[in-house]
Symmetry: C2
Subunit: 339 residues, 2 copies
DNA sequence: TTGAAAGCGCTAACAT
DNA sequence: ATGTTAGCGCTTTCAA
């Protein structure tokens, strides 16, 4: 049995409240007693029971990070791994523990209710944004501290971090147009996610501003799985040959390249991915990709949450994380002319 | 303020002990009262306070997963990501939460002491094995439930899961020898990790069994970072041209290929990686790699730990997870002859 | 079948 | 500057 505060109090000949006070660094404690208490703690290698502390405090120094349901998106694709890394780093540095979890049967609401109701965590970070998210509604209603990675529809009552998805896709699309592309396909994730809609809007706006008509056959959505992207690409190739494809995940982009290669179009079609994963550097042709700095998204999400938990007012309710286009061979005009 | 047991007891006109009993599914409770209590719970949308429960129970239904210190190995390389995924999946399915953390200043002992002392978790999973690991020693001394991913030196007092690292490297090395390789380089992680030594032993045994002398210049160790592997390769190339390189992580293998390419040796040297990551499929030449099934390692680690926590005797104290060699272009003789 | 009461280990208001 | 005491919300022994 590990030592308790009581044991320490006995040994140091003080009351438990005194022990509690030295632990808390309370000022009104004489140097001598503080020393005695510390010695007693050391002698017994005392460690405070955080559970007891939590019960008394109503605080756990633990935050929860909710991943998407693995049935909706592969558990921990590169984006989420980076985000976790960022969250973990900030949390650890600030003395918070990280509870990593995901919903079952896509039921995020039940998970959040459980997390909040059980009082295991002080706050939660959500990693997806959908319309009328019941989990988010619940968090807002309960006034439970939370941060969303992604731009929530109701951005008044929640803290959030995101890239400017519309702008970055606008930029990429415009760039391709400048290179002479006119038939630009757009492959993205499920349209229940706001990130999908934002990016698509950036794409549409760019086409519009350059007077390029929208061809619905060039717009596809799927889960972030390579084979699905290959499938979609073959589908598109049945009706026309696009001169560029923007895919909102490198995994998708790789699937696109694979399908293009089947028809020997790999050098005729510019391809751009997202998330700048390792594969982007290694596929041939090297894949142009949008670096969204997912690690920073996670880091700032944790920062926003933890600052809020500690009552620190950052005078800011969201962070917009820089994203930038990394051009590689797969979308460079010269590469395409090579053939 | 969320409802407490007391509120439920009031509403149902019973004592808190009765509420506690229905919650626990205690048999000696009349059907009527049980019903009344359940209704009261529903009416108040009562959720038990897990912290209070934990304090009373001395149990948290949370397990900790310790990652390596990011200063020693990049935080969450592919191996660990897969392992996390496996642990998380099993834990979630069995109603356990996952606390993800890592030591600071490489001080795993302090972290483990804190984790155990604070009673935040019911058990911990370690992901690295070093000699005389103080963290492991502490866990054994405290008799605190734990599982190690990797084969611990003291395998009597801990549960563990691992691949048969020696055997798989023996197999890969022998294969390369059969293909005619005689100068096989071996690049691996830090030799403080047992996995490094085991794999190296497999390599040495294979050489020995085929009467090939060991050339120490061909054996290098480094952190799992691409550039370091490239560096090591250049170092080796100064003194001799190996006909094969075994690298115990795909990241290293990629660095090797990069260095080989600088000297236009990429088609003359067989290269084998480990962990069968995505890049292995996409680099050119496609990288042969050992699939160690890290996700299964994590899954079975969690299974071992949780079964132990629940007092279920699996009649087994470790799992040996299958690993197998996936041969691709980078090590195939024909590919090498191409040039 | 149910309730009363003690206890899990800590914190904090109140008292001295 | 320190001790006393009453919780925090639950479980569980003991008694009825």
């Amino acid at each position: 049995m590990p030592a308790t505060m009581k044991d320490v109090a006995h040994l140091a000949n003080v009351s438990t409240s005194t022990v509690s006070r030295v632990l808390a660094g309370h000022p009104a404690i004489s140097a001598e007693t503080a020393l005695r208490v510390r010695e007693a703690m050391a002698a017994l290698s005392y460690q405070p029971n955080q559970i007891a502390r939590s019960l008394s405090n109503q605080t756990t120094r633990t935050i929860a990070l909710l991943m998407p349901d693995p049935s909706a998106s592969p558990l921990m694709n590169a984006f989420f791994v980076s985000a976790i890394r960022g969250v973990m780093t900030y949390a650890r540095k600030n003395g918070y523990y990280l509870l990593l979890t995901y919903p079952e049967n896509n039921d995020t609401e039940t998970l959040v209710r459980d997390l909040v109701g059980s009082r295991r965590t002080d706050g939660v970070i959500l990693t997806t944004v959908i319309k009328d998210d019941p989990a988010l509604t619940f968090l807002i209603a309960q006034n439970h501290p939370h941060v969303v990675i992604g731009h929530p529809y109701d951005d008044q009552n929640t803290l959030w971090v995101d890239n400017d998805n519309q702008a970055i896709v606008y930029e990429v699309t415009s760039r391709l147009i400048q290179q002479g592309c006119r038939n630009i396909a757009f492959l993205s994730g499920a349209d229940e996610f706001r990130v999908t809609l934002d990016r698509q809007q950036g794409y549409l706006n760019a086409l519009h501003d350059h007077d390029i008509p929208v061809n619905p056959d060039l717009i596809h959505r799927s889960r972030f799985i390579e084979t699905l992207a290959a499938e979609a690409t073959r589908e598109i190739l049945k009706t026309c040959l696009p001169d560029a494809v923007i895919a909102t995940d490198d995994t998708l982009a790789v699937g696109v390249e694979k399908a293009l290669r089947e028809f020997h179009y790999e050098h005729n079609v510019a391809v751009v991915g997202f998330n700048n994963t390792l594969v982007a550097q290694f596929v041939r042709p090297a894949l142009s990709s949008v670096e969204i700095n997912a690690e920073q998204l996670g880091y700032y999400a944790a920062k926003l949450l933890i600052s809020h938990l500690e009552g620190i007012d950052l005078h800011i309710r969201h962070y917009l994380i820089d994203a930038h286009f990394i051009e590689r061979e797969s979308s460079r005009p010269k590469a395409k002319r090579k053939k």
